[in-house]
């Protein structure tokens, strides 16, 4: 409609003014589009195996999804701003690996610097932010394509991790780093609290604050956003840094949960991250989608994974079936939203 309309539209009746907010419920409904799917999956899960509904299993499902959820949170905000970050899946491995290598003794594959263990978490988070800032430098200052920059960074960061650790898994992890991935607060794993809280903060920031809405404006039409006085480059830069920070935090949670940093930590996760975001209604073109939708996308994928495991699908086939289900979910999301997925 913005001047690129080329196929004439049928003569529409002059739009009246339905009462204030007449269309808001509809827009909200689109946000909730995945809720029926989640309920259906819960029913299917309960039928397949009664264990599914047990508190232990539900907690387990949620906890396994917390790292993915944080990456999706980061990626969704970046996508809404109309940019890309593929390197998140390497940040989730490199940030904790770098922090640990600086802290643990050389005998445990460390770098031999043996910094105080208390510095591990700050170093990890700072490393994530620095990676985001570097991506921002290349994308915004040097005007390189976000897709290619972050694809390059994905490979470079993974290579750095292998170089630093000599391709070894890191064990001998200080308790402070293990804590977040293992602690239980009020009967629920800390990682669930952390992810949940961050999603609530994100939903509130992007839904109810001027600076959050600027993210949508930038993704929808950067020139218009700039004309409205939004400092577009600064906002995108901050978002990329927040994205790196969230990925580093996800790395901490994963390290704590697994008790080690594998050389391939996070490898291949970015596909699932994008799938969850797109199933959740985030547009790859920017400006569209909500963080609540993205969260629903994460939950859907988590439930599918869990149900496949409980149903006893053989391990050799689970990847093919999981991938196929993601494709079907994308097709369904396309059909229910009625619009081309862009």
């Amino acid at each position: 409609m913005t001047g690129t309309q080329t196929i004439a539209k049928p003569p529409a009746p002059a739009p009246g003014r339905p009462g204030l907010g007449g269309r808001v419920p509809l827009a909200r409904l689109r946000d909730l589009a995945l809720v029926p799917a989640i309920l259906l999956l819960v029913v299917v899960g309960a039928i397949i195996d009664p264990v599914f509904l047990s508190a232990a299993n539900i907690t387990n499902v949620l906890q396994q999804q917390t790292e993915l959820a944080l990456l999706v949170l980061a990626e969704a905000i970046i996508l809404i701003a109309g940019k890309f970050d593929l390197s998140l899946e390497s940040t989730i491995g490199l940030a904790p690996a770098l922090a640990l290598a600086l802290v643990i003794p050389a005998a445990s594959n460390g770098l031999g610097t043996e910094l105080p263990a208390a510095l591990a978490i700050p170093i990890c988070l700072l490393a994530g932010m620095a990676i985001g800032a570097f991506n921002g430098l290349l994308i915004l200052r040097f005007k390189l394509s976000a897709f290619i920059v972050t694809l390059g960074m994905l490979i470079v960061l993974r290579g750095l991790q292998i170089g630093i650790t000599g391709g070894q898994n890191l064990f001998d992890i200080p308790p402070s780093v293990l804590y977040l991935g293992n602690a239980v607060w009020l009967g629920v794993p800390a990682s669930i609290w952390i992810s949940g809280t961050l999603f609530v903060v994100g939903i509130a920031a992007l839904g109810f604050f001027r600076h959050g809405r600027a993210v949508y404006a930038i993704g929808g039409n950067t020139d218009a956003a700039r004309a409205a006085g939004i400092r577009t480059d600064r906002v995108v830069w901050i978002i990329l840094m927040v994205g790196g920070l969230l990925a580093a935090l996800a790395g901490l949670l994963m390290t704590g949960r697994l008790g080690s940093v594998a050389a391939a930590q996070g490898d291949g996760m970015i596909f699932t991250v994008f799938a969850a975001a797109v199933i959740g209604g985030i547009s790859l073109d920017g400006g569209k989608g909500t963080l609540f939708g993205a969260l629903c996308g994460v939950v859907v994928l988590g439930l599918i994974n869990n149900i496949l495991t409980l149903a006893g699908v053989s391990a050799q086939w689970i990847q093919a079936i999981y991938g196929a289900i993601i494709l079907i979910a994308l097709i369904l999301a396309r059909l229910t939203s009625g619009k081309a997925q862009d």
């Binding site: 001047g3 690129t4 080329t6 204030l20 809405r213």
Partner: protein
């Protein structure tokens, strides 16, 4: 009007002008965009800014809106110097511009677009209150748009009104409209003009940019002409004849776009385009029309008349529910563009940027796209032959370009359209369908475009021109008028403007 405007002018002379730019010079590298040009817009007037493409209008607008810094010269608003370039808020309080390119964010609601980046201060956004404020603002200017609707779902007209309302809400009383009528149909243009007159009466000053000179006469009091980066004249429109205005724009006494005298097409000429009983629900119904070889037929109607959908059906972009389209005796497969092209149709789409051209490819490649099979054996495109063919086209259609190798995105609007026309005519079509061929094209290029079309007709092509622009239709042998999906009237050459316009608007009793 004369006396009144003059008096108003002298009174306003005492008051500082709403906006004034003096001795503005701006260069981009080797190109001089403005050479000590200037403009003075009195408070409360509607001032026209005209000039051919590349005359410096856009540069002057970006300097007046504070998006560019002039190399030298001064800008003043209401007698006080313009604010610093970085102080966007101060600029927005003084001047607002509704650009041709939308500055609306399609994925956000109307309400949020209106209050973008000022939805709230530091705290939470009160969405309900925001929608109410938006509704009040829109009501205040009589804009019937739902504030909760997505901005992307608005029509071009509604979108412009929202942009105007937003501009006014910043407190600016000087508004620049950059070709606001380019994408509107006749009725919407009239509504826009009515609104401009209302706002003008309420004290708003407008700078109006348009390629359509009759609009300048209709809505503006004074006109400033730029040519080749220089200020040519500023004059009240009612002391300036149309010929003098065109002369000021083109630099010579260009002839007006009167119809070229052509011999009548004999009834014996074969029918090259035959549309029989065509209908497409929601767009048009029961359309019969015939175009003979060598004939120029016009088709005019408002935006909702279905004329563009009809043209798209003939071109195979749409598939009709009923009826047939025949091209030179053949009936190509409905809804298939390749079939229509193979049957001998040339088609000039409405939006040349989206459907007409591949922007990064050269003039030669764009112009010869449909005839690549003739440029060499077995699908090989011989570069030398392609260049030669393109060079011939460049001369024939008077395309202003560095040469066949120049990418088309470096061409001006008029010249880009000539490339599209050259391509549409490259395979000697039996019938040519053109939609809004001169939209966004300057006066001089318009002339050479229409001349090329007339020449094509003289060579035996039957031409159907679908347009709102009366000047496009002057050389047509006959003009059909569509209204609400039906052909309601047919006039032959020599029609009076008023006659056609009343039929288009459906004011007349049938």
């Amino acid at each position: 009007m004369t006396g009144q405007t003059q008096t108003a002018g002298t009174v306003a002379g005492a008051v500082a002008p709403a906006a004034e730019a003096r001795d503005i010079s701006k260069r981009y590298g080797a190109t001089v965009a403005l050479h000590s040009a200037g403009i003075t817009i009195a408070r409360g007037e509607t001032h026209a800014l005209v000039g051919r493409n590349g005359a410096g209008k856009s540069t002057l607008v970006s300097i007046l809106t504070g998006l560019q810094r002039p190399d030298s010269g001064h800008v003043q608003f209401d007698g006080t110097p313009a604010p610093a370039l970085a102080d966007r808020d101060a600029w927005r309080q003084r001047v607002a511009c509704v650009y041709q390119k939308s500055t609306i964010i399609p994925t956000l609601t109307v309400a949020e677009n209106l209050f973008l980046n000022r939805q709230a201060g530091r705290g939470l956004i009160d969405w309900r209150g925001l929608r109410r404020r938006a509704a009040d603002l829109l009501d205040g200017y009589g804009v019937a748009v739902d504030p909760a609707a997505l901005a992307g779902s608005l029509t071009v007209e509604q979108r412009q009104l929202v942009e105007i309302a937003r501009a006014l809400s910043f407190g600016a009383t000087f508004i620049i409209l950059d070709e606001p009528t380019a994408q509107l149909d006749g009725a919407a243009i009239e509504r826009l003009f009515d609104r401009m007159r209302e706002l003008q009466a309420a004290g708003v000053t407008f700078l109006f940019i348009s390629h359509h000179l009759q609009e300048v006469y209709e809505v503006c009091q004074n006109v400033t002409v730029l040519r080749d980066a220089r200020h040519i004249l500023t004059q009240p429109v009612d002391t300036l004849s149309r010929e003098a205005l065109v002369a000021a724009m083109t630099g010579d006494a260009g002839e007006t776009l009167a119809g070229v005298d052509r011999p009548a097409v004999p009834d014996s000429a074969p029918v090259v385009l035959d549309v029989a009983g065509l209908g497409l629900s929601g767009f048009y119904e029961d359309i019969d029309l015939k175009v003979r070889a060598g004939e120029l037929v016009g088709l005019i109607g408002s935006g909702s008349s279905g004329k563009v959908a009809l043209a798209e059906t003939i071109a195979g972009l749409r598939r009709a529910d009923t009826g047939t389209v025949s091209l030179a005796g053949n009936t190509p497969k409905p809804g298939s563009v390749p079939a229509a092209l193979a049957a001998g149709l040339g088609y000039l789409p409405q939006d040349r940027h989206r459907e007409g051209l591949v922007p990064l490819l050269s003039v030669a490649e764009n112009a010869t796209l449909p005839i690549t099979d003739r440029l060499g054996p077995a699908g090989i495109v011989a570069p030398a032959r392609q260049r030669a063919v393109a060079q011939r086209m460049i001369e024939m259609y008077d395309i202003k370009t560095d040469g066949p190798h120049q990418p088309v995105n470096g061409l001006s609007g008029g010249n880009a359209q000539k490339v599209v026309l050259a391509r549409a005519l490259s395979n000697d079509p039996k019938a040519l369908v053109m939609v809004s061929p001169t939209a966004g094209v300057d006066v001089r290029s318009k002339d050479s475009l229409l001349r090329a079309v007339t020449e094509a007709a003289a060579r035996g092509t039957g031409v159907l021109i679908v347009s709102d622009e009366l000047d496009d239709l002057r050389s047509c042998d006959r003009v059909l008028v569509m209204f609400h999906g039906r052909v309601v009237r047919e006039v032959s050459r020599g029609w009076a403007d008023a006659e056609l316009v009343t039929a288009v608007e459906g004011v007349e009793e049938p």
